[in-house]
Amino acid sequence: MKARVTVMPKKSVLDPQGVAVRDAVAQHGLPEVTSVRVGKFIEVEINGLSEADAEAKLHEISRELLSNPVIEDYELHIER
């Protein structure tokens, strides 16, 4: 089983990487860019666990380990 977790900086939180990348993108021939946010993309493979069990566990892990709720939001997708 495969899961994908996207972790993004919260809208309200400063994202220094996003700012730097936006400036670089604008310089790189795309001045029309208005905003960039940089987060993480985490692919997790799991073996030998029911989907229901895995999903609950993965939410917990995404919340407690993979993201920091003070500054980040996460989204979990389970590949079926």
Binding site: V13, L14, P16, L66, I71
Partner: protein, 234 residues
Amino acid sequence: MKAAVIRFPGSNCDQDCFYALQQVFGVPTDYVWHKDTSLAGYDLVILPGGFSYGDYLRCGAIARYSPIMKAVVDYANNGGLLLGICNGFQVLTESRLLPGALVRNRSLHFICEHRGLRVEATNNPFLSVAKVGDVLNIPIAHGEGNYTADEATLDELERNGQVLLRYSDLEGNVSDATNPNGSARNIAGICNAARNVFGLMPHPERALESALGSEDGKIIFQSILNTLGVHSVA
């Protein structure tokens, strides 16, 4: 008294902190391995700088779940003096022992240099021998020391006198130009509401002798030892 320096895999200022306590201040000090589970008998615990678990995922995020951290949280909740330096500060915010978070420096570069730090509050065990407005010259060395928290949290920190150090110039002026990393309100170090947990990005253990460019780090160690009623040799 007895002090503990926690060693996570990837800690790299552990030996420096040990040297500071044991050699410079004559404080009996132990290393405590991250797989240990007890901090009984210690009067001061330091979470040292470095790259715990390679700083993978987020700085301090994996260390937070080391076996020793349960003991660290209990120790702090029981009022024990806890000092987190650099990566140690990051572990403290990840563990929610301190509010806010530390994100990438706004330049995206790692920065290592001496910096002025204005003392903002002294009614705590970590700066008791300083005066408000004093400027300490202490080096920073980090890539992710950009302190961030929501406005309400920041206001509360200010109100409670939990902001202990701000990046300034050597005259004590605080401005965007004296902010090395983009930290909210130039914050370099904060303590918790109970004032027994202190996290800071600068490295006081690197500023303990003139041969290294500054002795101002002694103020912090001396304050802690005074609080604990220890008369040190340094």
